[in-house]
């Protein structure tokens, strides 16, 4: 099979959320190979992992993020696409770890202390990963200490904070200030339903985005 065609297959599977052959979704692709099988095949055919990442995965997740912003697809569909991307990523991981392929940078993300909401944060993490970044997910209910420790071991990282409760927005402010005090040069982006551009300015963060697509634009602007 032609290289273009293989990359197209992977892109199509990720965009439509076809994880692997056994996956029942989407119904019109039942019994067909998914992102898992096609990525394996592409690597066997000698296609470079960096090319699979940039020409198939990043492009697919870009489309997915846009469709989500435009309300053409919804949370479940986006989660499935991210899952398909992860299936492909599994095959690429060894190359990233060996240093054969470079990521754009490291993104540390977590939901702030007192807050257990993680679906939005997970989606942002997955789409950012799909955009070619390495992601370190600190989970939920993350306090300043944990963020500072993580930044301490990765000083060139970008940090993302998520909050879904008006009550935990106060904790977001504390964490942002703690981070900025110790690491003023670390870029900090915030998100979550109740936060906005004004709040970003108020707490001294550097970026705000309403959705994963916006997070990717912000991150990419840092390395442009």
């Amino acid at each position: 099979m032609e290289k273009e065609e293989l990359l197209q297959k992977i892109l199509h599977c990720v965009e439509n959320g076809k994880v692997n052959n056994a996956a029942p979704y989407p119904p019109n692709m039942k019994g067909k190979d998914g992102a898992d099988e096609w990525t394996k095949k592409a690597l066997e055919e000698g296609i470079g992992p960096d090319e699979i990442l940039s020409e198939a995965l990043i492009k697919a997740m870009d489309v997915v993020g846009k469709k989500f912003s435009e309300k053409k697809i919804f949370v479940p569909q986006m989660l499935i696409s991210a899952k398909a991307m992860n299936a492909a990523m599994e095959h690429l991981k060894p190359y990233f770890q060996s240093g054969a392929v470079k990521k754009k940078g490291l993104f540390i993300i977590g939901t702030v202390a007192g807050d257990l909401h993680d679906i939005g944060k997970n989606l942002v993490g997955m789409i950012v990963e799909g955009a070619g970044w390495e992601v370190l997910d600190l989970g939920v209910d993350v306090n300043s200490r944990k963020f500072l420790d993580a930044i301490g071991s990765h000083k060139d990282a970008v940090v993302g904070l998520s909050a879904l409760l008006t009550t935990t927005m106060a904790n977001m402010k504390t964490i942002a200030q703690d981070i900025k005090q110790q690491y003023p040069e670390v870029p900090l982006i915030i998100g979550g339903a109740p936060v906005n551009e004004n709040f970003k300015t108020e707490i001294g963060a550097d970026g705000y985005a309403p959705d994963p697509q916006g997070a990717v634009s912000y991150l990419n602007s840092l390395i442009a």
Binding site: K71, I80, L116, I119, T166
Partner: protein, 338 residues
Amino acid sequence: MKPLQQLTTEAYRQKRRLVSPLMGFPGLSLTHSTIKLAQQNVDEHFKVLKALAERFHPDLIFPLMDLSVEANALGRYTVFPCRESATVPKDDFNIEDLELLRNINIAFDTRLRGVVETVRLMSKKLPADIMKGAYVTGPYSLAALIMGAEDAAMAAVMDTDKLNKLCNFAKEKIQQYIRLLVDAGAEAVCLLEPTAVMLSPEDFEQYSAAFIREICNEYKNSDIAIIYHTCGNTMHLVEKMAGSGVDAVSLDSPEAGVDLPGVADIISSDVVIIGNINPTGTILSGTSDMVREEVSSLLRSMDSYPNFVLSTGCDLPEDVPLENIAAFMQTGREYRIS
């Protein structure tokens, strides 16, 4: 016509509006109580509602919102922070466990009974001209509490049979709960379906609206009003909500993305629209004058629609100042449709 629609229409004829903010938690300061105490103790709970009724005299009143009651009654792990509503964190769940859950009779659960008894007290002791409401977790949101919200979203496309089974199970338990509430005197039942906002219109229909329709059928020929509440931006879902046979839809704020006059233009005028002042905006952190301004402007924008009840987009947080609720009530009471 059911009393809710009748009263709404009657008020409109008199150029007035019914006024009912979704308030509960701010009332705790009136009785010097805490969320935890009130959510676990019938007398404490009722005292808060009585104080709110006396202070504000809304047209429709609800107990404190508590989305953990049904899941907790079904034995799911629940945490009780002192100053926040009880919550059901994610826990492992296998669909095989459903058979075990089936055997649980929720009517024997102390906290669930507590809500039922609170509604009974409301019905007996609050003024007759205040309609008594009750909250119930919707089928999809209850399924999401049982299996985890992210897994439920994923199951909506990957594991449709399993999710259907769980939502149907949730519906059956909800029906039992509603019967208890109605028996205790609830005149309006508000189904809370916050988690379903994540779904596509088709999935929303399949996992939420279809089950709500079955619940509505049971009360078609009664005086009990069924209200459908989903928070967040529901503009892509309102037609499904309104088409499910409910008597009213309760919608979130403009800040969340909901355009109330726009909704009124597309749904049937037989369905009452309840909303939609932002519960965490001006009313939480602005002045009373700002609240008056915001409420007047919402009322004005709805002037040409008879099927409207002034309310908040969602439950008010505990820290909302009482004088701002008073400003909300007063503006709503004094407003005249032009």
